[in-house]
């Protein structure tokens, strides 16, 4: 086989494995993005949205109590939970919605797992006067009923997806189907660093503001780079955003925390890098949880946002070359971390972000006190309170 290196590849991963019907739409998107990413006017408008609408830059907060309690490395939290709409998702969505608007599109469609990306997309659509349709697995509409209401309140139509496992992967499939039906006026606002080229690159570039800020803030506070940067990984957008500007700084260790569900030795897991194998799905070559015949596995995690059988192609590549490591974190560990950060720092993290907090709790005590860890808190945990209460056997109604 020829070893073809093409646009939109991260090592062997990535590519454009999509129906012919969508090819001109993604080509048009690639062309538009290539133009606007270098357009000072576009960048100015985006910065303005980030700073005056989304509440950027987000804080880099020294978690002193947590640091002292764990007794090892110094822990900083990158507070993406303080963004407007409560998660990192808004960074990508404002970028894509602005791009779509410049391209003359009037309608945004999106998939959502936990509902954070759906809420962010509905928010951007409301702000920019665009129509918005969000596909959400029926199972997730139950787990995240409050977010369904928020999307409707913002003027979006939420379509519960009843195919397959009725979770995030099915929502992605359904949004892709919808896009093939209507490309003329519609932009598919993909929520993570996944799917066909150019999405993994576009979403990464919009999320890279996270690591750009971490770097500046860390140099200001500590006068040096951190030793470890870690974030949770589903598709991997907050993680790649947290890693991106550190990739060339080899001394900074990058750790992605995957959802192990009930454990990587069970079938009830969503830890793709740890348990999946190379495959082609949802427009990209990457690692996927699948059976021996390539049927995509019905993955599981307590977190709807990490409950996805694949991982973004750039993460797959960072794993291959050993630049980043990917560790599994179970439901139990994540729930403990959710409760721990709430009690210790007065910060309720999203159950997704709690996976990264959990791993920080594991490694910080093993590190010297002069070491520095940055953990990205990708979102706030209000949306998860009812589900975690149920996990603990307490039946509360939202």
């Amino acid at each position: 086989m020829k070893n073809v290196t093409k646009e939109g590849r991260f090592g062997i991963h990535g590519g454009q494995y999509i129906p012919e019907t969508l090819m001109n739409a993604v080509n048009e998107l690639t062309k538009a993005y290539e133009f606007y990413k270098n357009d000072p006017e576009f960048q100015k408008e985006l910065s303005d949205l980030f700073n005056n609408y989304a509440n950027r830059p987000s804080l880099l907060y020294y978690a002193e109590k947590m640091t002292k309690d764990l007794g090892g490395a110094k822990i900083y939290l990158k507070r993406e939970d303080l963004n407007h709409t409560g998660a990192h998702k808004i960074n990508n969505v404002l970028g894509q919605a602005l791009l779509a608007k410049k391209m003359g599109k009037t309608r945004l469609i999106a998939e959502t797992g936990a509902g954070q990306h759906g809420v962010a997309t509905a928010t951007a659509a409301a702000l920019m006067g665009m129509e918005c349709v969000v596909f959400m697995g029926e199972e997730d509409t139950k787990r995240q009923a409050l977010n369904v209401y928020r999307m409707r309140l913002l003027g979006a139509t939420v379509i519960p997806v009843t195919t397959g496992t009725k979770t995030l992967k099915d929502a992605v499939s359904e949004a892709m189907r919808e896009w093939t039906t209507r490309v003329e006026d519609t932009h598919y606002c993909l929520g993570s660093v996944m799917g066909p080229h150019p999405f993994p690159t576009i979403v990464r570039d919009f999320q890279a503001v996270i690591s750009k800020e971490i770097k500046e803030q860390m140099l200001e506070k500590e006068g040096r780079l951190p030793d470890v940067v870690m974030a949770c990984v589903g598709g991997g957008s907050n993680a790649i955003g947290s890693f991106y500007h550190f990739i060339d700084d080899k001394e900074v260790q990058l750790i992605g925390c995957e959802a192990a569900g009930r454990g990587i030795d069970t079938f009830e897991t969503a830890a793709t890098v740890n348990t999946g194998k190379l495959g082609i799905f949802h427009g990209m070559k990457s690692y996927f949880c699948q059976d021996e015949y390539g049927q995509i596995a019905p993955v599981y995690s307590i977190s709807a946002g990490l409950d996805y059988p694949g991982v973004g192609p750039e993460h797959a590549h960072l794993h291959d070359i050993g630049r980043a490591s990917y560790v599994p974190v179970t439901d139990d560990e994540a729930v403990n971390a959710f409760e721990y950060l709430s009690r210790t720092e007065g910060i309720i993290p999203a159950i997704e972000s709690s996976h990264a907090i959990a791993h920080a709790m594991k490694i910080a005590p093993t590190m010297d006190k002069d070491k520095i860890i940055v953990v990205t808190v990708s979102g706030r945990g209000d949306k998860d309170c009812a589900a975690i209460a149920r996990y603990r056997g307490e039946d509360i109604h939202e």
């Binding site: 454009q16 999509i18 129906p19 012919e20 090819m23 195919t163 189907r177 799905f281 015949y293 390539g294």
Partner: protein
């Protein structure tokens, strides 16, 4: 060169699609035999995939039923071996990239060649990614079928020039499934294809009755019908083959 050209030697070709293993392989076997008996010129055999992103609800349902019934790629290969004892018309597989890739691309395509599969239709492999499978297809004489969509426009020449077997012309935007009307200007799409290749064109997506088939056959060399046949399997299960046979008879008569 595969045998696909033979499907287009006797007037307009009728190409039915059947999902393997829906609801079981015996039913697929019987349906294929009925299809051949009633005038099918080439058969598209679907290998089920858990997440068929190019399919509408009818074929999605068939994939779910077949996988629930325990179908696997190896069982589909066995089914084709059995079919090949009785059937000589060209057969192609329609499946998704991960089904081929996960089996080992070369191993999959070599097996296709050994059991008498003439071509592969993979909706998530566009022109830009065909390098993934094309070298093995060329090596083992299995045609990788190219698709052209209503949105292809300036891509038509590039795709048509390298097309093999036949060209699958997607009639409408969206996913597979029955439609009341087809509004794409297929005449101009097929005109552009003809300027670039002599490979036959078959139109698929949304064709479900004899009058639509007749209209489409005036424009192209063949018509492909999937959801309308799968719908019969959904309704009649193991009793579907004879119903599929008479449906195909009517459709073939309409395009003769």
């Amino acid at each position: 060169m595969s045998n696909i050209y033979k499907a287009f030697e006797n007037g307009k070709a009728f190409i039915p699609f059947i999902t393997c293993g829906d609801p079981d392989t015996d039913t697929t076997y019987n349906a294929v035999l009925e299809a051949v008996k009633n005038g099918a010129d080439l058969i598209e055999l679907g290998i089920p995939f858990s997440d068929p992103t190019a399919e509408g609800p009818v074929i999605q349902g068939a994939n779910i039923r077949a996988l629930a019934g325990g179908i696997t790629t190896d069982k589909v290969f066995d089914l084709v071996r059995k079919i090949r004892k009785e059937v000589t018309i060209p057969l192609v597989f329609m499946t998704y990239a991960n089904v081929v890739f996960s089996y080992g691309s070369e191993r999959f395509i070599k097996t296709c060649s050994e059991i008498g599969i003439d071509g592969l239709i993979i909706p998530d492999i566009p022109y830009e990614e065909k390098e993934e499978f094309e070298p093995f297809c060329a090596q083992y004489d299995v045609d990788l079928i190219s698709m052209i969509a209503p949105t292809s426009e300036d891509r038509i020449a590039m795709i048509a020039k390298e097309a093999k077997g036949f060209i699958y012309v997607v009639s409408s935007m969206g996913v597979t499934g029955m439609r009341s009307g087809i509004t794409t200007d297929l005449n101009s799409v097929i005109g552009k294809i003809r300027e670039n290749t002599d490979v036959p064109c078959a139109i698929g997506f949304g064709i479900s009755n004899p009058s639509q088939a007749k209209d489409m056959s005036k424009l192209a060399d063949g018509v492909i019908v999937g959801s309308a046949i799968v719908k019969l399997l959904e309704q009649y299960g193991t009793d579907a083959p004879s119903k599929i046979g008479s449906f195909i008879g009517e459709m073939k008569d309409a395009i003769r």
